[in-house]
């Protein structure tokens, strides 16, 4: 909102230096964005918060200035001679949709002479960066900028039946707006119609047909109150956000409707001649009563933490237009002026008004805050382990936007859930869904980096995937650890396994072949703990790679973060170090290619070989030296006793049991 300093002086006296005025405006909540000297005037750009429709006008800002400096504040008197003819006998107003229009007033001025505005009026209009149009339009704009109430002048002769019907548009109705925009009206939009057709889009813009032109003689002057949401919605639908729609969109003052109408009528008669018909057609669909609100002086320090003398509080409220109707030493009761009816209705709102003008800068006392102790939660501790560990292993932490496209890999899911959430108003069509996996997000990041020549990419992010539960329930937002690494399956699996070590996980974690969209069906595993799936590790599928135009080979993992938190071993307990040395024995066995390493491990332990502590994979061989469909596995067995150094015979006997078990359980043949 721009205001002119020169214009403001019409309503209040300003006798402080400009810098002090600007500083003051900011400190009472009218933040000064800019102030520019123009033709000897100062144009001040104010940031007006959405609750302060009243400050979308010079009078509103002047009232604040007068309250802040304690100066005079005057609103121009409106006085205009009227003709014998009565407005009621000339026109009528019918409100069919009272929910969107609680009040509509019409005044009629006959015999005007449309022409250009006088200099003083043109100067005001130009100072606000607008172009003068003609005297009638300029006057309505001037009064809107003066008091915040938008008004519209119709050419009465162009209104069928010479009357006004306020109603929702009918199906298929159209209107050409003043600026020549063709508008197909929707049935939820409010229009100002005559007896036959829409003549204006309520609160947004007038129609070209009934526009005031050089040939206009009689004017019907509208001043009304409209539903703010309806005006905002309609203005946006046609991209016709205007001075009027932004003011109606914030809500206008009930009492301003009639004052503004009289003000415009008087100026028209003064500037453009003609006669104002007697009276006004004023249809009110609600009974407006000013709110009566009490302020207990004792509540002021309870909220603000400082004392404000009761006399100061009452002085501030009065200056802002709140009229005291009852007062004693404990409280004051005030009537809320209609220009503040939308944002002041409670005691706390009055306290804010007092604080604003008493000065937030006085809220400046040092007072200690009581000490409180907090303990980090386990999830914070786990996160503080995982993230630095991945960074230390060469991974870059990404921050991806969770919107994805609707391609199969875009909406791929690693978890059971319903159809993905679709954004009704997306920023663009390729970002209209909420991801159900981090896969598309990290692949997009990888693609960006490949295109900039990066290689050996290693990315990770602990973030959310959004898993709809169907119906009206909010989705599950699963926090996952997602990892993308260029390389083979062993690389990515190794990173995941290292995390389990970092977190002192001592449950059995299994990897079982599984299929997921976006991942290679022959090289992807579900990560299981007991029967619960806690994650997925796999190689990117060819389809997914080509969707993102990726050249490299990538492994991907997505692990449920809260499962990791649950599995993380807190405070691992110390075990005594071994007193006797371990003995290592290597074995190489040949078996069917389909036998998994896990089956081999199980066969080894099924032997119940005494003192066997662990088995470690060494090597896998497939190829010419073996029959087709066979593989050779080499591994190391570690034996150790807590009671003595193991003898060669003891170990040999144990090895024999292992070999027998391997032969029996997985059909393995010892490799000679």
């Amino acid at each position: 909102m721009n205001v002119s300093l020169d214009w403001l002086r019409q309503y209040c006296s300003i006798d402080v230096p400009r810098a002090e005025l600007l500083e003051k405006l900011s400190t009472i909540g009218l933040n000064v964005e800019d102030a520019v000297e123009k033709n000897g005037d100062l144009i001040i750009e104010l940031e007006v918060t959405s609750n302060r429709g009243d400050c979308m006008s010079h009078i509103g800002v002047a009232r604040e200035i007068a309250a802040a400096f304690g100066g005079e504040f005057n609103i121009p008197a409106v006085d205009c001679p009227v003709s014998k003819e009565k407005a009621q006998d000339t026109t009528s107003v019918e409100i069919l949709d009272a929910d969107l229009c609680p009040r509509y007033t019409a005044r009629v001025i006959r015999g005007v002479k449309v022409g250009s505005s006088p200099d003083w009026l043109q100067k005001r209009i130009k100072s606000m960066g607008r172009s003068p149009v003609n005297n009638i339009v300029d006057i309505t704009n001037f009064v809107m900028l003066e008091c915040g109430q938008p008004l519209h002048a119709f050419d009465l002769a162009k209104l069928d039946g010479g009357r006004i019907v306020v109603r929702r548009a009918k199906k298929g109705e159209k209107i050409t707006a003043l600026d020549a925009t063709q508008c197909d009206l929707a049935e939820n939009m409010l229009v100002i119609a005559d007896a036959v057709k829409p003549a204006a889009i309520a609160g947004v813009i007038g129609g070209a047909d009934s526009e005031v032109s050089a040939s206009t003689v009689d004017i019907l002057l509208e001043s009304a109150a409209f539903n703010p949401v309806s005006v905002r919605r309609t203005a946006r639908a046609f991209k016709l956000e205007s001075d009027a729609s932004t003011r109606f969109g914030r809500g206008t003052a009930w009492d301003g409707v009639d004052w503004a109408s009289r003000r415009v009528a008087a100026l028209i008669v003064e500037i453009a001649g003609g006669e104002l018909l007697d009276g006004v057609v004023d249809v009110q669909k609600i009974q407006y009563e000013p709110a009566r609100v009490a302020l207990r002086f004792a509540r002021i320090p309870v909220i603000l933490g400082i004392d404000v003398p009761a006399s100061d509080a009452v002085r501030i409220l009065k200056a802002l237009g709140f009229e005291p109707v009852a007062q004693d030493d404990k409280r004051v009761e005030v009537l809320v002026p209609s220009y503040r009816s939308r944002d002041v209705c409670r005691e706390i709102d009055l306290i804010e008004e007092v604080a604003r003008h008493y000065g937030y800068d006085k809220i400046d006392i040092e007072r200690p805050i009581p000490v409180a102790i907090t303990q980090p939660r386990k999830r914070d501790i786990v996160q503080d382990v995982i993230e630095p560990a991945l960074v230390a292993r060469g991974f870059c932490e990404t921050l991806t936007v969770p919107f994805v496209d609707k391609s199969p890999v875009g909406i791929a899911a690693m978890w059971d859930c319903a159809e993905p959430l679709e954004v009704r108003n997306p920023v663009n069509v390729n970002q209209s869904f909420m991801r159900r996996s981090m896969l598309p997000s990290l692949l997009a990041a990888a693609a960006h980096n490949e295109n900039h020549g990066a290689h050996e990419l290693k990315l990770f992010e602990v973030s959310n995937v959004y898993l709809p539960r169907g119906g009206k329930q909010l989705p599950e937002e699963k926090n996952v650890v997602a990892i993308l690494a260029e390389g083979g399956f062993a690389e990515i699996k190794g990173v995941v396994e290292a995390l389990f070590v970092d977190l002192n996980v001592n449950q059995d974690i299994r990897f079982e072949l599984a299929e997921f969209i976006g991942l290679d069906a022959d090289c992807t595993a579900a990560v299981l703990c007991g029967e619960k799936r806690i994650g997925v590790v796999g190689m990117i599928s060819q389809d997914a790679a080509s969707h993102f135009g990726l050249r490299g080979k990538y492994g991907f993992a997505e692990i449920d973060f809260l499962s990791l938190v649950g599995l993380a071993g807190e405070n691992p307990q110390h075990k005594p170090l071994p007193r006797y040395p371990a003995v290592e024995r290597d074995l190489a066995v040949v078996m069917d290619d389909s036998v998994t390493w896990r089956a081999v491990e199980q066969a080894v332990f099924a032997a119940k070989a005494p003192n066997l502590r662990s088995v470690e994979f060494v090597d896998l061989y497939k190829g010419k030296q073996l029959d087709k469909g066979k593989k050779s596995l080499a591994f190391r067995l570690i034996y150790r006793s807590d009671d003595a150094t193991l003898t060669g015979e003891e170990v040999a006997a144990a090895q024999k049991k292992v070999i027998e078990s391997l032969e029996k359980n997985v059909n393995a043949i010892l490799r000679k």
Binding site: I351, V391, R424, A634
Partner: protein, 336 residues
């Protein structure tokens, strides 16, 4: 294979016997033990062998290699006088072994800074859903149906019942619904608002919401907490000011400014010559909000403070384009 290795030993012995000077000895050393020597070749061919054959041949090769080494040393010391070879020092300017080095995201680094500071002040860190219902994102926060903040131009809607949260204040409601005062929480989170993307605006950004509810809390305490926070993050010389503003869920409401960290408040291009940098919004929790979560506003008061993390990170690292934060270019990420 075994035979071949035996032959190598015999051949080497002959060559040693024939060597007349240190140059000849060095030639033998290079031929058998050098980087491209005979044993290197044998070792690299071992991968083709079956595991146990590999073990056996490996052991034999090692024995022979050690033997040749021993004989070489013997000959070198006995065949005096051989002038001591001039030893060249290791080139210590060569780079060390490259270990993988990753990076933290700047937003996460700053979020962790905040976590540390607010832990010191006794605040507990909480999370909550990003996909919200209108009750938690709007109604309970005193943003009624007709309020401009609910418009589709300011919020991402999935349906009339589900939206992406447009502020972390929704977390206040979720927490207060389930916890009674005294409350001292800090809630970081991702928030979403349709906005045209440019160097300083994005539709996806990060906020932190602080909430304290107890008996006897006032605007004075709020300002003191913010001042402590400012000192924690930028040092004790930072000043804080609050000025009136409007948020539906606080009353009175305020904007918070820090004295400019770049110019010390004297005025510079970052602070547009004002000496102050706007940090975020704050205020006393609106009585309607307390009422909506069943807290008596006559008995308890509280305050909330919300601010953006993105801007803090941009200030801290001199990042001039918010888009870099979500572009995930490793050339950018590795700078932190």
């Amino acid at each position: 294979m075994k035979e071949r290795i035996q032959n190598i030993l015999d051949e080497a012995k002959k060559a040693l016997a024939a060597a007349a000077n240190s140059e000849a000895l060095e030639g033998i050393r290079i031929k058998y033990l050098g980087r491209k020597g005979v044993f290197k070749e044998i070792m690299s061919g071992m991968g083709k062998l079956a595991p146990d054959a590999r073990k056996e041949i490996g052991a034999q090769a090692n024995r022979v290699k050690n033997e040749i080494e021993r004989l070489l040393n013997e000959k070198a010391t006995s065949d005096a006088p051989v002038p001591a070879a001039k030893k060249t020092a290791h080139d210590v300017t060569l780079p060390g072994r490259k270990y993988p080095v990753g990076s933290r995201h700047p937003i996460k680094i700053v979020a962790n800074d905040l976590k540390r500071i607010f832990h010191q002040l006794g605040f507990t860190w909480i999370e909550g859903p990003e996909v919200e219902d209108p009750w938690h994102n709007f109604d309970a926060l005193n943003i009624p149906a007709e309020h401009v903040a609910r418009d589709e131009s300011d919020n991402f809607y999935f349906s009339d019942e589900q939206i992406l949260r447009s502020q972390t204040s929704s977390l206040q409601i979720r927490y207060m619904e389930n916890n009674k005062p005294p409350i001292r929480i800090i809630a970081p989170g991702r928030v979403y608002r349709p906005d045209t993307v440019d160097a300083t605006h994005h539709y996806f950004f990060h906020q932190v919401e602080l909430l304290m509810v107890d008996k006897g809390l006032t605007l004075v305490d709020l300002k003191n907490i913010i001042t402590l926070f400012a000192h924690g993050i930028y040092g004790p010389e930072i000043k804080v000011r609050i000025r009136p503003s409007y948020f539906p869920f606080t009353e009175p409401s305020a904007e918070t400014d820090f004295s400019c960290v770049f110019c010390g408040g004297r005025g510079c291009s970052v602070c547009k010559q004002t000496g102050w940098i706007e940090l975020g919004g704050c205020g006393m929790v609106d009585p309607n909000v307390l009422h909506n979560v069943g807290i008596d506003s006559e008995e308890y008061t509280g305050f909330a403070f919300g601010f953006g993390i993105d801007r803090l990170a941009m200030f801290k690292y001199g990042i001039n384009d918010i888009r870099l934060l979500t572009e995930n270019d490793v050339r950018f990420l590795k700078q932190f």
